[in-house]
Amino acid sequence: MPRRRISRRTFLEHTSTALVVATAAPEIRAQGRKPGGDARRAIALTVNGTPQRVEVDGRWTLAELLRDHLNLTGTKIGCDRGECGACTVLLDGKPVYACSQLAAWMDGRSVETVEGLARGTDLHPLQRAFVERDAPQCGFCTSGQLMSAVALLRANPHPTREEARAAMTGNLCRCSNYNHYVDAVAAAGGDRSAERLAPRTTAAAALQTVGHPTPRIDAVERTTGKATYTGDVKLPGMLYARVLRSPHPHARIKSIDVSKARALPGVRAIATHETCQVVWGAGSIAGGQQYNDDVKKITKQRRYAFNNPVRFAGEPVAAVAAVDRHVAEDALQLLAVEYETLPFVLDQEEALQPDAVKIWPDGNVSLNNRNEPLPLAQRRGDIEAGFRAADQVFEERFTTTFVHNAQMEPRAAVAAWDGDKLTVYTPTGGIANCRTDMARDLGIPLENVRVVCQYMGGNFGNKNQNQDADLIAAVLARDAGAPVKLELSRKEDFVGVHGRWPTTQYYKIGVKNDGTLTSIQLRGYSGMGPYRKNSGAIAGAELYRCPNVETVVYPVYTNKTVSGNFRGPEYPQGFFGMQSMMDDVAAKLQMNPVDFVLKNMTRKFRDETEYTTYTLEECIRRGMDAFDWTKRWHPPGADSGRFKRGAGLAFMAFRSALGRSNAVIRLDSAGRYAVHVGVTDVGGGAKTTMGLIAAEALGVPLSKIAVVWGDTDRCPYSVGESGSRTTIMTGYAVVEAARDLRRQIAEKGRPAGGEVLIASASPNPAATGKVRNAFGAHFVEVEVDAELGRVRVTKYVAVHDSGRIINPLTAESQIKGGVTMGIGMALHEDLLYDRRSGVPLTAGYYGARIATHRDAPEVEVIFVESDDGLGPFGAKSMGESSKVPAPAAVSNAVFNALGVRMKDLPITRDRIVGALAAGRSARAAHGEVLA
C-alpha cells in the first residue's frame, strides 16, 4: 500500500529509528520522488470494431481509458491488480486484464468489450445463455466471465464443462455462481446435459407466477454492461478522492502537514481529523445492534471519519480530492504525518490479559448498550448439575479467523451537494438506513439527503448502513464545492471496511453413554477490531436439545481490522465450532453422526417454543437419500488409501422473522403497475422477487410490472438487504399493497385517462407464540490427499427449507453461492497478520485465496418446501442460510476422511500435512509399526 509506506517514511523523518525497532515495525523503503513523466500522446486503436484515435496519459490503464474516457463502463474494476478478472477484455482476440495493460501500449491494437457483443437488442448466444441460466447474481464479474467465454467459444465451439472452467478460471465470482456460469457456457456450446441441470418449477408451486423459474428482470442489463454501478456514475466537474491510511496498528497522530499536498496543482480538498470531526455513528455502536438516535446518545466509544489515535493498520488518516485519481494519489505522497506508535494487541484472548494495552480507557471488553463491559450470555438450567449427571464430559477448543466479505465491487461513493441537499450514490443494501445515518452523522435534516443505489456488486453484510467512505466523499464534496467520487482499492476494501469476526471457542459437553446431552457450555471470544460495529455473538448452542446450557461470549477489542456482519453474522463460525464439537462427541461415543444429530437436534426453539413449521428431520432424511449417506460414510479414518474419502454433515436453523416494511403500487390507465420498494438488490434477485410477488398478488403477468427501486426519493422505507429479510418483510408489504390496490379497483374501477390508483401498505406482522425459522442440512464428501494436504469436495448436497420458493432459478444461485463461499471459509480464507508489526499480509483476492472456478464443486440443491401461511405466500429466509452449515459440514467430512479433527480454520494444506505428521510420530511413539 503506497499510503502506508510514504507515511512510514514521514514517520522516520520525524522520529528516531530506535522507536521503530522497539515496535518491530518495518522500515520504509527510501524512494526518491522525481517530477516528470510523459505528456499525453495520441494512439490509434480499434474498439469493438470502430477505429479510434485518442490522447492518453502515460499512467492510464486500458481499463481506465475504456471506463473514464470512452464511457465503456461495462468493463469493471474489481481489484486493479490482475487478481479477479472483472476487467477482462479481448485484446486482438485474446482475454487480458484491462487493469494490467497501459493505454499507451494499445497503439495499433484491437480491443473488444462487453458492449460489443450484442447487435442492438439481439443478444450474443452467450449473453442469452447467461440470462437463462441465471449466471450473473450481482453482475459485477459478468462482463469479464463473458469475454473469457466468448474467446473460448471462438476457439472451441463445443467445450466441455472442464474446458469452460479452465477458460474462466481467471474470473472470480464472489457470489460464487460458478456452477451457473459453467452451465451457461456449456449450454451455449450445445451441451444438452446442461438442460438436465436447469431448475424446475417447484413442488409447492400451485401458483400462477410464484414458484416458476424466471430470469431476472434486469438480467439483460447485467449481461450487456448497461447496469450502472456506483463506480460507473460520472457527474459534471466530478473530482476523484483517495484516502491515506495508517501504517501502524495503534498510534497517536502528532501532526499532519498538508501544505505540500495542498500546493500540488489539481488538489481541491483535503480532510484530516483536525478539519473533519464527523462522527461515523454506525462505525461504532454500543452493544453492536441497530444504530439509532438512542444508541447515538449512549455510545461512549465514538468513531469518527478520521480518528486520533488510529487503532488499526489501514484506518483513515486523511483524504484528498483532486481533478483526477493520479493527482489525488500523488497528493497522498506529499502528506507528512508524524506518528507516535503505541503498543498493540492482535489476538482476542491476549487482549483480555491483565498486561494487554487498553485500546479504550474502559478496557478491551466491548461495552454493551448500557455501557457495561459484559459478555453476551445466555443460560438455561444448571450446567454443573448437567455435568454431574453426565457419563462423560468432553472439552475442546476451536478457532476461526477473519475472513473478508470480498464482494466483487469494491466500496465506492459519489457525493454531490446542491445547496444544502446531498445526494450520495453508494453501494448499499439499505438505502433507507444509509440515508438516516448520513443525516444523523452530518447533522442535516433527513429530507436533505437522497441515497441512490441502482446496481451493486455484492454485499454479504458489509454494505449495510452508511460507511465512512460515504461520509468522507460528502465532506470533501462540500469543501471542494464539486461532486466527489471516492473508490477504495481492493486492499483498502479488505482492511478498511469489515469482515467476519475471528473467534476462539471453548466447549465443554456433558453426555450420557447413549448420546443424550446433559450439559452444553461455551466460553467464546470474538475479535471485533477496535470498534464495535455488530454483535460479535457465536451461535450454535440453540441447535441442540439440552436442559442445561450456558454460553458466554466476550466481544473483544483488538488492533486488527474491524469485524462486522458477513453472511450469517454469528453462524458459520459458531456452527463450525459447535457442530465440530458434537461430531467429535458422536465419534467418541462411536455413534454415526446422523444418529447423534437426529437424537439431539432442536425440535422446539430452545426446547420451549414451537416452530411455525418444522422440517429439519425431513431435510436430513432427504439429504441422506440424495447423498447416499449410508454408503459414503465410514468410521472415522477408515479409508487407508493415499486419497482418503470422507463424509460429513451439518445442519442449520436460521431466523425467518416477520417485520415491518413498506410498498407502494401505482396503476395507470395503460394497465402498468409500478411497484415502488426500497430495495437495491445486492445480487440475490430482490427486484425480480418483488416483481414476481406483485404479479402473483395482482394476478397479472410479470411483464405488466415495473419495479422502482434503489432511490430514497422514489421508494418507501425498507429494512434493506440484510438479515435475509427482504423477501419476507418487503415482499409481504407488496402482497398487502396489492391487496389494497385490488380493493380500490373493486371499489372505484380501473383508472381511465390521466387517472392513477395508488395503493400502499406498511404491515408489521408477527408470528404470535411461535418461532419462524428456515431449516437445512448439508452433506459433503471430500477426498483428502493426505501427503500433499489437498482437500477436494467430490459431492455436495444442500437441502433447504426456505418456505415456499418464489423463484427456483435465483434461489438455486443463492444456495450454490453460499455453499461455495462456505467451502472457501473452511479451506482457504484468512487475513493473516504479521505479529510484530500488526500489519495484515494477505489482503486481496490473491492473498486470501478466494475460490476460483476450479475450486468450486458442483452443488446439488434440494428444496423442502413448507408453507406456514405467513410471509409472502409462505416464503422464508434464504440468502445467508446457505453458507451457515457449510464450514462445519466440510470440516466434519475431513475428520471422517482422516480420523483427525481439524480444530482451526482454515484447514489449509500445512495443517493437514502437519496434523498427519504429528499423528504418525504419536503412533510411532506408541510403538506401532508404520505402513
Binding site: M1, P2, R4, R5, I6, P26, E27, I28, R29, A30, Q31, R33, K34, P35, G36, G37, D38, G58, R59, T61, D80, R81, G82, T88, K94, P95, V96, Y97, C99, S100, Q101, L102, A104, W105, S148, A167, T169, G170, H326, D330, E787, L788, G789, R790, H828, D834, R835, R836, S837, V839, L841, T842, T852, H853, R854, D855, R909, D910, V913, A917
Partner: protein, 333 residues
C-alpha cells in the same frame, strides 16, 4: 503510480541502451514485457521507475525455433504460446506443463517467458512494502515472522522462494540463457543464471540493471526422455507453488524402465530453482520402481532446514518427488 516516461524500442539491444542511458542520468528504469506484475507493483509504489521501457514494439524476440541443436524460445514468447506449442509439448513436456500452471489465461496471454523467469519475489513482506532485503533493506522479516511459504533450502539471509514455474523446468532441461546488454550478448547455463541471497540478497539472478533475458535454448531431448512438472498450490488456480517438482528422466533406449540419467529440480522451496544432485545420482542407472521413487523422495529432503512455520513443506516435498518419479515410470502393460 508515480508519473514516468514511456519508451518503446524496437529491438532488445536498443532497449538495453535506453536503460543504460537513463541510468547514467541517475534515473530508475523498468522493463515491461507482459507488464501485469510490473503495473501492480507500480500501483503499489513498490517500484517507482522514472522510465518504463516497453518491449511491446520489439520484433522477433517471441519466436520458438527448433533446429538440429535444440529449440530456442524468445524471451518475449508468451506463456500461453509456450504451453500450446506442439513441439514443446512433445519434447519438453515439463516446460509446457509448467506454463499451464501459471496464473490465469488472461495473464498467460500477455506474460512472457523472460518476465516469468525474472519476476520479483511474491513474499508477502516484500509485496506489502516492508523494507526487506529484497527491497534494499537489511532485514528478512520472514525469519522471525510469518514464514509458512518460505524457503526450506538455500535460505539466508533472505528466505524468499523463487516464484517462477518456468525456471525449475528450464533448469531441469539444461537450458542456456542468452542475455543482451548495451554492449553485447553473453550466455549462461540456466543453473548459473539464478543467484542465492548469500551472494546477493537483493537480486534473484545475474542480470545487470540494463540487461535483458533475450532467449533460452533447450538442448535436443535424449531419445528416451520423459519429463513432467507437478505443482502443489493452496487453491486450484492462480497461486504460486508451495512445492513443485520439475523432473526430466532420460530412459534407456532399450529398456525404458531403466533411468539412464535424470535431472530433478524443486520449485517453491528455495530462493532459486533447487536442483537435487543427490537424487539424480540415486536415480542414475537404476530401474524405476516404487521403492526407488520412495528412496528418491527421502533423498530429496536431506539437508532441508525449515523455519518455524514451514516444516510441512519437508514431507510434502518428499511425497511430491516420490510420486513424480513414480509417475514417470512407464506403465506396466
Amino acid at each position: 503510480m508515480k508519473a514516468f516516461t514511456n519508451a518503446s524500442p524496437t529491438d532488445l539491444r536498443q532497449a538495453a541502451r535506453l536503460a543504460g542511458q537513463a541510468r547514467s542520468r541517475e534515473q530508475s528504469v523498468a522493463f515491461a514485457a507482459g507488464g501485469s506484475d510490473l503495473l501492480g507493483m507500480m500501483k503499489d509504489r513498490l517500484v517507482t521507475p522514472d522510465t518504463v521501457v516497453s518491449l511491446r514494439a520489439v520484433k522477433g524476440a517471441d519466436t520458438i525455433v527448433s533446429d538440429a541443436h535444440g529449440t530456442t524460445i524468445g524471451g518475449l514468447a508468451t506463456i500461453d504460446a509456450i504451453g500450446r506449442h506442439a513441439g514443446i509439448r512433445r519434447d519438453y513436456a515439463v516446460l509446457a506443463e509448467a506454463a499451464e500452471t501459471i496464473a490465469t489465461p488472461q495473464i498467460r496471454n500477455v506474460a512472457t517467458l523472460a518476465g516469468n523467469v525474472c519476476q520479483r519475489p511474491w513474499c508477502w513482506y516484500y509485496r506489502n512494502g516492508f523494507n526487506c532485503l529484497k527491497a534494499g533493506g537489511s532485514v528478512c522479516y520472514s525469519v522471525a515472522g510469518e514464514n509458512q511459504f518460505h524457503a526450506i533450502f538455500g535460505g539466508g539471509p533472505s528466505y524468499i522462494v523463487h516464484p517462477s514455474d518456468a525456471a525449475p523446468a528450464l533448469v531441469a532441461l539444461d537450458a542456456t540463457f542468452r542475455i543482451v546488454g548495451p554492449a553485447g550478448e553473453r550466455t549462461v547455463p540456466a543453473a548459473d543464471f539464478f543467484t542465492l541471497p548469500s551472494r546477493n540478497p537483493s537480486r534473484e539472478n545475474v542480470l545487470a540493471d540494463d540487461e535483458l533475458l533475450a532467449a533460452v535454448t533447450l538442448p535436443r531431448p535424449a531419445a528416451g526422455a520423459r519429463s513432467t512438472y507437478q505443482k502443489v498450490m493452496d487453491r486450484e488456480a492462480w497461486t504460486h507453488a508451495i512445492v513443485s517438482a520439475a523432473i526430466v528422466i532420460d530412459a534407456d533406449a532399450a529398456d525404458p524402465t531403466v533411468c539412464r540419467d535424470a535431472r530433478v529440480v524443486l520449485g517453491g522451496v528455495a530462493p532459486i530453482p533447487w536442483r537435487l544432485p543427490d537424487v539424480e545420482r540415486l536415480l542414475r542407472g537404476q530401474r524405476l520402481t516404487p521403492e526407488l521413487a520412495a528412496a528418491a523422495g527421502e533423498a530429496a529432503i536431506a539437508g532441508a532446514r525449515p523455519l518455524a512455520k514451514n516444516g510441512y513443506k519437508v514431507p510434502m516435498a518428499r511425497a511430491l518427488v516420490a510420486r513424480t518419479v513414480e509417475g514417470l515410470a512407464p506403465r506396466r502393460v
